[in-house]
């Protein structure tokens, strides 16, 4: 041992001995879990006040009656844009086109639900013929309770979309296809796919209640956007994915 000044030597040895003890690795995990529980309880605490659920129901009821018409929200355009911008900021750049089109066309009522639900053929009358195969795939795999009310081409911020709009009594769902921009690629952005197999990688994202599942081909991006559960939305894209890819490849060739 190197010789130290008489007063320093015991202090150094003591420090060395005590600092040899380290916290067990699981302690940090326990602490983080404990703090997470506290945070969750705090977040839930607001809802545990007895008057809050009642007030919330009242507000939702009144708001639904006033601002929802035919399943569409009619809110001031400015507030829609603010809300859309906030939602879009939750997802990656390559996810944004699909969510943006779903929000403006389906949720904000850009193309509202008709008073009478059309038959499939009638709903698809505005769809360009080259996307008929895509429509057929959606028709084959869509859960029974979803009904298509429009399949059309739309324009949003100068960008063209093929948009299949479906709904149940309580949920909206969009299948959206758009040409891939130069800087848009899940692969290039190194986003990890949620599912990969049979040549199809599926990417997921979430913005509040909206679930997104997407895939990319050489020239296109395709999205399923809905307020289904995360797993249901993913499963739907997993079922549709290979046929969407095949249909889009034909367009690319």
């Amino acid at each position: 041992m190197p010789s130290l000044p008489p007063n320093q030597q015991p202090t150094q040895r003591l420090r060395q001995a005590v600092k040899g003890t380290a916290a067990p690795p699981q302690l940090q995990v326990k602490i983080r879990q404990q703090l997470d529980q506290v945070r969750e309880r705090k977040a839930a605490g607001v809802w545990m006040r007895p008057w809050v659920p009642v007030a919330a129901l009242l507000v939702i009821g009144v708001a639904s009656g006033v601002v929802y018409r035919s399943g569409h929200r009619v809110a001031p355009v400015d507030s829609q844009e603010v809300e859309a911008a906030a939602l879009l900021s939750n997802v990656s750049q390559t996810m944004r086109p699909g969510l943006d089109d779903h929000l403006h066309c389906s949720v904000y009522g850009g193309n509202p639900v008709p008073d009478r639900m059309p038959a499939w053929a009638e709903a698809a009358q505005d769809l360009p013929p080259q996307f008929r195969e895509l429509l057929a795939a959606v028709q084959r795999h869509m859960p029974e309770q979803f009904r298509i009310y429009s399949a059309h081409e739309c324009l949003r911020s100068g960008r063209k979309f093929v948009h299949l709009q479906l709904k149940t009594d309580t949920q909206l769902l969009s299948v959206v296809v758009t040409r891939r921009g130069v800087n848009e690629s899940f692969v290039r952005d190194k986003i990890i796919p949620s599912l990969a197999g049979a040549g199809t990688s599926i990417y997921q994202a979430k913005a509040l209640r909206f679930q997104l599942a997407a895939l990319e081909t050489r020239d296109y991006l395709a999205y399923v956007v809905s307020d289904l559960s995360e797993q249901q939305n993913l499963n739907l894209m997993a079922a549709l994915g290979p046929e969407i890819r095949q249909a889009l490849r034909k367009l690319e060739s």
Binding site: Q9, A23, L27, I31
Partner: protein
């Protein structure tokens, strides 16, 4: 608690920022707090419990912590508060032999520390020190807090910190010399020098 209410009313992004700040400020001191707790309590399991309690208390009152001030000292203050609280729970009667008067009466002349002592022997000797003295030695000599910081952490005057430190050091030397003697360490050197 005011803090709880204010945090419950924070926006999600503010709450996330607070969590991130807390992680960045407080979590790096986990090892320091744990090893001090082990030495103060003499029981790793109790030390884990107390350190968890420290982080919980720290999180609840993190809004009172001023960014840029000494987070480590703040956490140590909470640690000692928690230790006292747990001691009251664990022990129904006060520990004996902890008064300065008792130690004053029982201290002997300081002895040199032999060099060949192991870490385990040094820790065992430290653990033998009365709690108040051990805390002063740990804070100043091991964790390198200034006297003023140690006084603030322990909630006692600086003069008391200095006196406990001095007596703690003396007692530690004595303990170590006794251990060394029992193993025959240092006797050869003493014989050579005489």
């Amino acid at each position: 608690m005011t803090g709880d209410v204010s945090r419950a009313q924070e926006s999600p992004s503010a709450a996330q920022a607070a969590s991130a700040n807390f992680d960045a400020e407080a979590m790096p001191h986990l090892n320091d707090l744990y090893r001090s707790a082990v030495r103060i309590l003499g029981d790793p399991q109790r030390a884990e419990d107390v350190v968890q309690e420290v982080y919980l208390q720290a999180w609840k009152s993190f809004h009172r912590f001023e960014a840029g001030t000494n987070c480590r000292a703040w956490l140590y203050k909470i640690l000692f508060h928690c230790v006292h609280h747990h001691r009251r729970k664990w022990f129904r009667f006060p520990l004996l032999k902890e008064t300065e008067e008792f130690l004053e009466a029982n201290l002997v002349a300081p002895a040199p520390i032999p060099e060949q002592l192991t870490d385990a022997q040094i820790l065992a000797a430290l653990d033998q020190l009365p709690g108040d003295f051990r805390a002063a030695v740990l804070l100043v000599d091991v964790e390198e807090f200034a006297y003023k910081e140690a006084a603030d952490i322990l909630g006692i005057p600086i003069g008391t910190v200095m006196s406990r430190l001095s007596r703690g050091r003396k007692l530690l030397r004595e303990q170590l010399a006794a251990v060394a003697q029992s193993y025959g360490i240092g006797q050869n050197a003493k014989a050579k020098s005489s």
